[in-house]
């Protein structure tokens, strides 16, 4: 998606699939990564609804480069993101957000993704450097994450080599995936939640 225009996908209106009337607990996982890395594809692979698209705007004084500047000198940042959902049980609904990894997006991270369970950093092995910024920001925000390598062809390097190239600490899980596959995308989410479980269990033991 062009980063400077704000667009919403408007394919033919899908019939809405409502949640169970007992649904009461929304949970969030973010899938972050560079352009065209397969974020939307992964959301689509596991979502019970066709991925939907929406946007959020934020008005700030004096910051911003390519943003709309209004007469009062404030800038408006708009970021678009897509999402899907998984009903986990009668009460819990997991929302998956495909979040663009570029800089402007992080201004809105706190507003949109405070309280997020964790993140999947999706990387294209041919463009590892696209994920540096996202990894740095997630570490900064203290959001736990796993790294998933979306293989567009046979991988050239081992995951250990990728870990080294990204200077990723040993405790951060890495997995290979094919974002087009439901089973594979599901395995990525399970790897993330297993990681969160390990962190949470360690914290509970420490209490």
């Amino acid at each position: 998606m062009d980063s400077t225009t704000s667009e919403l996908a408007t394919s033919e209106p899908a019939v809405r699939t409502p949640l169970a009337s007992t649904a009461r607990d929304g949970l969030k996982i973010a899938i972050v990564g560079g352009f065209g890395v397969g974020k939307t594809t992964m959301v689509r692979s596991v979502s019970e609804i066709r991925p939907l698209n929406t946007e959020e705007t934020m008005t700030r004084a004096g910051v911003g480069i390519d943003d709309a500047r209004s007469a009062d000198g404030k800038t408006t940042t708009t970021v678009a993101f897509d999402f899907g959902r998984i009903s986990l049980n009668d009460e819990m609904v997991l929302y998956l957000f495909g979040a663009p990894g570029q800089e402007r997006f992080w201004f809105l991270w706190d507003r949109l993704f405070s309280g997020t369970l964790g993140a999947v950093v999706l990387v294209d092995p041919r463009r590892l450097e696209d994920s540096w910024y996202a990894i740095d920001r997630l570490e900064h925000h203290g959001t736990p994450f796993v790294l998933a390598r979306n293989n567009f062809g046979p991988p050239e390097y081992t995951l250990d080599e990728v870990r080294e190239a990204l200077s990723l600490p040993a405790q951060i899980p890495m997995v290979d995936c094919d974002a087009r596959s439901r089973e594979s995308s599901k395995a990525v989410l399970i790897a993330l939640v297993n990681h969160l479980y390990t962190l949470s269990a360690a914290r509970e033991r420490a209490l």
């Binding site: 667009e7 408007t10 409502p18 009461r24 607990d25 939907l52 929406t54 819990m92 939640v193």
Partner: protein, 119 residues
């Protein structure tokens, strides 16, 4: 996928939709707060309110309402504040506290894992 520029970006329209207010109580709703209607739409109600009330006949997340209405999330939050203040909707907030940079407990994560395995 067919894309078109979003008309919701028009400041005049946003101004009208929100009666000129530009700030929602941001803390009142999370993206995944589930909204439930507590009444039927009544005659003379603002069309966005009518659509929200119809949609939230079953629990619907804030972000889904935004996508469905084609409005930015912040604008939808303002609309929801009106409905909440007048008791026309109720809000089911996420258990995982947004203001706490803390992991959910293992019990919740276990339930998430079971749900994912059952996919």
């Amino acid at each position: 996928m067919i894309r078109r520029p979003v008309d919701s970006g028009d400041p005049d329209r946003l101004y009208t939709v929100t009666n000129g207010r530009t700030r929602a109580n941001e803390d009142a709703f999370d993206l995944v707060t589930l909204i439930v209607s507590e009444c039927e739409p009544s005659p003379g109600m603002q069309s966005e309110h009518v659509r929200i009330l119809r949609m939230c006949d079953r629990p619907t997340a804030v972000v889904e309402i935004a996508a469905e209405l084609g409005l930015p999330v912040g604008v939808v939050k303002i609309l929801l504040c009106d409905l909440l203040d007048t008791g026309r909707i109720t809000a089911r907030h996420p258990r995982t506290s947004p203001r706490r940079a803390q992991l959910p407990d293992t019990e919740i994560l276990k339930q998430v894992l079971v749900g994912l395995h059952n996919l």
